[in-house]
């Protein structure tokens, strides 16, 4: 924010960065090879719905768009306790590319409709043999990823998260500021 904006009390809503999302399939391969974390085929997009007709129309369009096509997966829509909307897409576990394409379709619809600033994050979930869960969270506004590994009782498996950071650091832009690795408890599809 520039000096003039500060003086005049102006902020521009932050536009999302979308392209880095396509790095996920590569990272998925690395995660599987290095740590035994396998994609579950589930991913979700989280956004803050704006009030009014315009947004609900776009939201409806997105859902219709995702449920079309021959191998269309059912799309679930849930609202979390913070009032954020999650669109959950399910694909075959080995088809991370299709999943990411679907997630990207949601992004671009919102951005084209002028609601890009409403996008919060995207989450692609992984799991290993012992039942450990991991979400790879993409922060739209920063254009960075961070790992999120929830345990019971709203605790995080920080060791696993840091291990993942080391493993996929070369494939993905990992959020360098640890204070921005905010938890998404109870994220659908995780």
């Amino acid at each position: 924010m520039g000096f003039l904006d500060t003086l005049l009390g102006r902020t521009k809503p932050v536009q999302p960065k979308l392209d880095d999302l396509f790095a996920v399939p590569t990272a998925a391969i690395t995660l599987q090879a290095a740590m035994g974390l396998v994609p579950t085929g589930t991913g979700s997009v989280c956004f803050r719905a704006a009030e009014g007709r315009a947004f609900s129309d776009i939201e409806k369009d997105v859902r219709e768009l995702l449920s079309m096509g021959k191998d269309a997966a059912p799309v679930e829509v849930t609202k979390d306790s913070y009032g954020f909307t999650w669109l959950v897409c399910r694909h075959a576990a080995d088809d991370v590319e299709a999943l990411v394409t679907d997630l990207h379709a949601v992004n671009s619809s919102l951005v084209d409709g002028g609601f890009g600033p409403q996008l919060l994050c995207t989450l692609v979930s992984f799991r290993d043999d012992s039942g450990k869960r991991l979400g790879l969270v993409y922060l739209y506004k920063r254009g960075t990823f961070y790992p999120f590994a929830p345990l019971e009782n709203e605790r995080r498996d920080s060791a696993l998260e840091l291990q993942v950071r080391g493993a996929v650091g070369a494939d993905l832009k990992i959020e360098p500021d640890l204070s921005r690795w905010f938890p998404v408890w109870g994220a659908p599809g995780l």
Partner: protein, 322 residues
């Protein structure tokens, strides 16, 4: 090309520019008159002006650097972590998401025990920011969406660096106020007060006139800058409402929070109101908004009227739905 729904409010920008310009104008005029006074009548009252500026600068810099600590201790607020209480966990959760949405560093969070549902943000920059809510804001009077609206409003104050802007804007008023006080006492005690630092003896007619003029100029500058700062504060509130509503995409939730909070505050007994008054400039809704209709009160108010804020929010709501 994606269209943008977030048009800046040019009217508000223009009005704020004008206010800042006038504030700067008063400041420059003030300095010119002081320099003229000093050069015409010699340095007899130089010490007074010098001390006023020195003390004023000290106070401003102090309140700038310790704004977070001063405000928190005035509100008797304690910093909270997500583990402190269920309310604190909820607060952290909401702020986490707002920070991710707005791409801002997370402020520290504090809670203050108070029967008035309210919130304020302080700290000289985004990294030092503290966001404080009162316990009664979290007691279920506001639903989650409204609470989020209030917090988004406060986060906008942080993003706009309102503490820094308002502190610097108040600098002029502080100096003018101190000068008036010094000149007044100087006059009272025959102009001897100013001699302590500079070693000048101004027990003569010229010194008295200078002090009188300084007094008059100080009063005028103080009054004008006071009104301008209040005006600026009201514009900053509107700007924060706007940015907060656009951040969550829910202007109506913020509007309903405003009506609830203002209504609740008007019913709170007097004693608490007076205690809370010094913090007003940073509060979400001012504690003394109970009286309606008086335009003079509006002129002195740190916050715009409820109606004005609601009007702006409904305009934003229309923009979003289009």
């Amino acid at each position: 090309m994606a269209k943008t729904r977030y048009a800046p409010d040019r009217g508000l920008t223009a009005r704020m520019t004008l206010t800042l310009f006038l504030l700067g104008l008063v400041f420059v005029a003030f300095i010119i008159i002081l320099v003229w006074l000093l050069s015409t009548f010699g340095v007899s009252s130089g010490a007074i002006v010098f001390f006023a500026i020195l003390l004023g600068a000290g106070l401003t810099i102090g309140s700038f650097f310790y704004s977070d600590k001063i405000a928190l201790s005035a509100a008797k607020a304690v910093e909270v972590t997500p583990q402190s209480s269920p309310e604190a966990a909820k607060l952290h959760g909401i702020v986490d998401r707002l920070c991710a949405l707005a791409d801002m560093p997370k402020p520290r969070l504090a809670m203050a025990r108070s029967p008035m549902p309210n919130a304020f943000a302080t700290g000289r920059n985004a990294n030092k920011a503290v966001l404080c809510v009162t316990t009664s804001l979290m007691d279920g009077r506001l639903d989650d969406r409204e609470l989020e609206g209030v917090l988004a409003h406060e986060m906008s104050h942080v993003a706009h660096k309102d503490v820094a802007v308002m502190t610097i804007a108040s600098f002029l008023g502080i100096i003018a106020g101190l000068l008036v006080r010094f000149a007044f006492y100087g006059e009272l005690f025959g102009g001897g007060g100013g001699g302590r630092g500079g070693g000048n003896n101004n027990n003569n007619g010229g010194g008295a006139i200078v002090l009188l003029i300084t007094l008059a100029v100080g009063i005028v500058v103080y009054a004008v800058s006071f009104l301008l700062i209040r005006l600026l504060s009201r514009y900053r509130e509107l700007a924060a409402d706007r940015a907060g509503a656009l951040l969550t995409g829910q202007p109506s939730a913020l509007a309903s929070a405003l009506t609830k909070v203002s209504g609740d505050i008007a019913r709170i007994p007097q004693k608490d109101l007076r205690q809370a008054e010094p913090l007003n400039a940073f509060f979400f809704a001012p504690a003394l908004s109970g009286k309606t209709g008086a335009s003079l009160a509006n002129l002195f108010s740190t916050h715009p009227t409820l109606q004005k804020r609601l009007d702006q929010l409904s305009e934003i709501s229309e923009q979003l739905a289009r």
